[in-house]
């Protein structure tokens, strides 16, 4: 079973929750940047959270499903059509064999996750199906989708239908935080000359941003101590300050080591929101304590658990 790629979209990659335990070999984590939306999409089609999905960036692909499939779209709101019919997000949809799904532009946010029941069945590589774009492995041939690709799927027992069957219910896949809420960070030991500026500034997302990092534009920040740093381990969420004073927030594809000073770490619960920022969007930072970071993460995990229960009950009652 497979999906045929008619057109790939801007940057569509296979991702699961990431590749862990290999940073000592210079291998980054990869994985869905918005793990929350990725997980919800999987839940809607009955997959475990770590099943591989397609991460769609800003503009979506055109895909033909060879066999009947249950799919779900979560994350950024995206224009989706199947042979003329509008396909809504955040709910399960059954597609007949031979359907062509056309995904347009993300209307809010930057990344949409397309889950397929059974999961994208590319082979595991170093214990993960995530695409490592820099290393060129994992996912589908270690790269973004291209026209003509065939994405392998698990066989499904779904009976064929004559038209898409759209669940009459949906979930709220948005995070609790308001769009204007700050991105929370844990301050780091590298002290800024005027620490207030980091938090007082509305940072602008540069178009140079990608899965490795979000480049921020604003007033140039300065450190108290400008001695050169030597390369040391970094992690997704680390906020680096290059000599030009414009911070970079590292994302899942970041290098494992960095030589720039580290001024903070964005908390895990807010990295989902980072993933949805588009070039030109703005936000501001707020500092939190490790305890608050942990509470925010637990609250997000509890929300996922509640949604899982609600989804499970509704899927049980599904008729088509």
């Amino acid at each position: 079973m497979s999906i045929d790629v008619l057109s790939p979209g801007l940057l569509t990659t296979v991702q699961d929750l990431g590749r862990f335990g290999w940073r000592h070999l210079g291998v980054g984590t990869s994985g869905a940047l918005d793990a929350y939306a990725h997980t919800l999409a999987n839940m809607l089609v009955g997959n475990p959270a770590n099943a591989a999905t397609l991460e769609i960036t800003l503009t979506g692909p055109r895909l033909t499903f060879q066999h009947p499939c249950t799919i779900a779209l979560c994350g950024a709101q995206i224009d989706a059509h199947c042979d003329g019919q509008i396909i809504p997000c955040a709910r399960p949809v059954q597609l007949p064999a031979g359907s062509t799904l056309t995904l347009g532009a993300c209307r809010t946010g930057a990344r949409t996750y397309l889950a397929v029941a059974g999961g994208i069945d590319v082979p595991e590589c170093m214990h993960s199906r995530s695409t490592d774009l820099r290393g060129g492995f994992g996912g589908l041939a270690g790269r973004a989708l291209r026209a003509g690709d065939h994405i392998p799927l698990r066989p499904s027992s779904l009976l064929d239908l004559t038209a898409p069957c759209i669940a009459p219910w949906w979930i709220d896949d948005a995070l609790d935080a308001a769009h204007s809420a700050p991105i929370h960070l844990l301050p780091s030991v590298d002290a800024l000359a005027s620490p207030g500026t980091l938090l007082a500034t509305r940072w602008n997302i540069s178009a140079q941003s990608n899965r490795q990092g979000l480049r921020l534009q604003g007033p140039a920040l300065q450190l108290v101590n400008n001695d050169e740093r030597i390369s040391a381990p970094v992690a997704p969420g680390t906020v680096q300050l290059p000599p030009d004073g414009q911070p970079i927030v590292l994302l899942a594809d970041a290098q494992t080591h960095g030589g720039y000073p580290c001024i903070g770490h964005v908390i895990r619960a807010d990295r989902q929101r980072l993933a949805q920022l588009r070039p030109g969007d703005t936000f501001h930072f707020a500092a939190v304590t490790p305890q608050q970071a942990r509470q925010a993460w637990q609250a997000q995990q509890h929300m996922l658990a509640r949604l899982q229960l609600a989804i499970h009950a509704r899927r049980e009652a599904m008729t088509c």
Binding site: F20, G21, W22, R23, H24, L25, G26, V27, C125, M126, D132, R134, G135, G136, F137, G138, L186, S188, V189, D227, R229, I230, S231, A232, P233, V234, A235, P236, G237, T238, Q255, T256, H257, H265, I267, R268, P290, A293, R294, W297
Partner: protein, 225 residues
């Protein structure tokens, strides 16, 4: 006196800094400590990642009891380890990996430039490069890319003013006071002096990287010039 500093790397990582310089003795301490940590390998340890003079520990929080604060538990564990076996006392038991290299020619188009800068013959450059024993200080930049310590200072050569758009996989290169190997074909600004046919990184292998942090490395010339 305590000569190390422990800080947090986000919510699931610790960063132990032993110093702030690129120093072979300091790096040896990093790997000796890492060996000890690997020997005990607590269930919550997801990864331990050496840097030149630092070591990061990443935690798997699911391995902790609900009542435990993961980072605090890991910090306490590390403090105990450092008290029981102070830094600098552990023995260094790394393995040595030999890398056959075809120096010069198409495989090493910058060998003549490196020789000219060093006022040496190409043969002397090869001899010096093969005489030293190197240490994999850390792997980073790209999967399996080793940062090696131990280059003879006479071979220090500035990076190319214009980086190459494509450096072939397996290239052995000198950039400034460092020497390294490119596991994947990639752009690069270092001076290429040779190439190895060994696959440095293969994600399909059980041990994907030929080199591990802390390994010693020797280059073996497999041709005259």
């Amino acid at each position: 006196m305590r000569h190390w500093q422990l800080q947090r790397l986000g919510e699931d990582g610790l960063l132990l800094q032993l110093g702030t310089s690129i120093d072979a003795a300091l790096n040896t301490q990093v790997h000796a400590l890492n060996t000890q940590i690997q020997a005990q390998r607590p269930a919550w340890l997801r990864d331990s990642v050496p840097g030149y003079s630092s070591l990061a520990l990443f935690l798997n929080e699911q391995a902790f009891a609900h009542s435990q604060d993961p980072l605090q538990t890991a910090e306490t564990w590390l403090h105990h380890l450092l008290q029981a076996a102070p830094l600098g006392t552990a023995r260094n038991t790394s393995r040595c990996v030999e890398i056959p290299v075809h120096y010069g020619g198409e495989a090493g188009p910058d060998l003549a430039f490196v020789a000219e800068r060093a006022r040496l013959s190409s043969e002397e450059v090869i001899h010096l490069h093969c005489s030293a024993e190197y240490r994999v200080a850390m792997l980073g930049f790209s999967p399996g890319f080793p940062y090696l310590l131990g280059l003879d200072p006479r071979l220090t050569t500035p990076r190319r003013s214009t980086p190459r758009t494509l450096v072939p996989a397996g290239s052995i290169a000198i950039g400034g006071a460092q020497t390294g190997l490119y596991p994947q074909a990639s752009p690069g600004g270092w001076n290429l002096i040779g190439r190895t046919a060994l696959a440095l990184f293969d994600p399909q292998r059980a041990a994907p990287s030929l080199l591990a942090p802390g390994d010693r490395v020797r280059f073996i010339a497999i041709n005259g010039t």
